[in-house]
């Protein structure tokens, strides 16, 4: 059984893949540190919404990851570290709000509640928020990188959601381009009037 999605990491960001078979992912929050290759993935997460989503996506699409190490300096105001901890401990409500997060706008928009549940089941969170000593971080990775078997499930795959355009029932010109050409701002249509 494949334990890692094709083209992993499934989403891009300020992070790099290391050894995809490693059990541990390292989230350096607002700090930037050089990749330690024994980690499955390594990099920053600065926001409490899209940033947190990316962490979840790259974890659940790689069943080998069983630990997520939160370290580095917390991102001020956004509190991405505290938010990831809250997400892990409490999950989200039906509106996508991350329960218990103190971040500025803590919402998960693009993931299903089941994906969040899967994240919470698949990994154990190691909370070392504030830790910036690279040697100590690498030593934690050393201890965990081959300590667990893969999570017994298929890696979650993601398809980019495309919002469907719905043509409006009526069109009215609200932007004038020339005498006979107008635009309906809401629908984005530019058209010629008789």
């Amino acid at each position: 059984m494949d334990t890692v999605s094709e083209k992993w990491p499934v989403t891009k960001g300020d992070f790099s893949a290391g050894n995809t078979k490693s059990c541990i992912a390292v989230v350096t929050l607002a700090s930037s540190m050089p990749l330690f290759e024994k980690a499955a993935i390594w990099g920053s997460c600065k926001t409490e919404n899209l940033g947190a989503e990316k962490v979840v996506m790259n974890v659940v699409s790689n069943c080998n990851i069983r630990y997520v190490l939160l370290c580095g300096g917390e991102s001020r105001g956004h509190l991405a570290g505290q938010t990831l901890k809250a997400l892990y401990e409490n999950g989200i409500d039906e509106d996508g709000r991350i329960l218990g997060s103190e971040g500025a706008i803590p919402f998960i928009e693009n993931l299903e509640i089941e994906t969040i549940q899967r994240f919470r089941q698949q990994v154990e969170l190691i909370d070392r928020i504030g830790l910036t000593d690279l040697d100590e971080i690498c030593s934690i990775v050393d201890n965990y990188h081959d300590s667990e078997k893969p999570f017994e499930a298929f890696p979650v795959s993601f398809r980019k959601a495309v919002r469907k355009y719905q043509a409006p029932e009526s069109i009215g010109a609200d932007i004038v381009i020339s005498e006979k050409v107008v635009m309906d701002a809401f629908s984005g249509l530019i058209y010629e009037i008789a």
Partner: protein, 310 residues
């Protein structure tokens, strides 16, 4: 290029006018000072910084503004109440430009709001921002304050598409009693500046441009954004920056033109160090935009770059 059928409202913030149809008023530009990672800041919690360099930066933005005619605002970013107080005291002493109060911490924003009212600077302050997380306490603080200008942030974290953001502005989300524009009015905001919210490249960075057009067509309010946040968070570009920082800078600054071409009235252009570059770029766009609508009998303001630079 085009003009709106709906009357366009013009905000007047301590003499700085923002809004109108394309070609009418020069684009207002706000540079950020004391931002996260700004090397002039020594202690971000206490708000300690290099005053000489900060003064030079404010003066540089002012000089650029005086040259092109694009009005300037100072976007003050602070993490704590103490920091914001120090920054506001300093900025208001050095320049008479309006300033934005920005903090990720609502308590710090609220405390700064009370502070500017207390020291009589409410008319120069722009609250940044009324957004989907606003609570009762924040609303009350704004109502009780002298601040009557605010950015209204359309970023909807529950539905960041076009409809979700428009809905947030118009009627709110499921957990809100009304839309953000009505909340802003209720809080006593006379000068409402819509910011559709910029998301990273690949996460709907362009939605804000369509919302700019739509919000102006629908409400006639001034619209703008911190559009440079899209390229500045673009991984591919950040990688290019390692080899050639100029490439990054060009994209960062050029993004303002996109906002202007989509009828934007103001741009939060990011680091204030970029003032000498952004003002000429914005002035160039303003001139070309004006010349595209000249036949619509649009009159450019006397301070418009068209009347100053060509």
């Amino acid at each position: 290029m085009f003009r709106f059928q709906k009357d366009q409202k013009i905000a007047n913030i301590a003499g700085v006018k923002i809004g109108g149809n394309p070609g009418e008023l020069p684009t207002a530009l706000a540079g950020t000072i004391f931002y996260e990672g700004h090397d002039i800041v020594g202690d971000a919690n206490e708000g300690l910084f290099d005053r000489k360099i900060a003064e030079d930066l404010l003066n540089s933005q002012r000089a650029s503004s005086d040259e092109t005619g694009n009005p300037c605002l100072v976007h003050i970013f602070g993490n704590t109440e103490q920091a914001l107080r120090n920054y506001i005291d300093f900025v208001s002493e050095i320049t008479d430009s309006p300033f934005l109060i920005d903090s990720p911490d609502p308590l710090a924003r609220m405390a700064a709001t009370e502070y500017v009212s207390e020291i009589g600077l409410g008319d120069r302050a722009v609250y940044n921002s009324i957004n989907m997380t606003i609570g009762e306490k924040e609303r009350q603080v704004l109502k009780d304050s002298d601040i009557d200008s605010s950015i209204v942030l359309g970023f909807n974290a529950m539905d960041s598409g076009f409809k979700g953001r428009m809905q947030l502005l118009e009627s709110g989300t499921s957990s809100m009693d009304k839309g953000l524009i009505d909340i802003a009015l209720e809080c006593g905001m006379c000068n409402i500046l819509i910011d559709p919210g910029i998301t990273p490249m690949g996460n709907g960075s362009g939605v804000s441009l369509r919302i700019t057009l739509t919000a102006k067509a629908k409400w006639g309010l001034p619209v703008g954004s911190g559009i440079h946040n899209a390229p500045s968070s673009w991984e591919w570009l950040r990688d290019k920056k390692k080899h050639d920082p100029l490439v990054f800078k060009m994209c960062d600054i050029a993004s303002a033109v996109m906002q202007q071409a989509a009828a934007g009235n103001f741009v939060l252009y990011g680091p204030i160090e970029n003032a000498p570059y952004i003002f000429p770029v914005a002035a160039m766009s303003d001139i070309m935009i004006y010349e595209s609508v000249e036949e619509f009998e649009i009159e450019p303001a006397s301070s418009h770059p068209f009347n100053r630079l060509v």
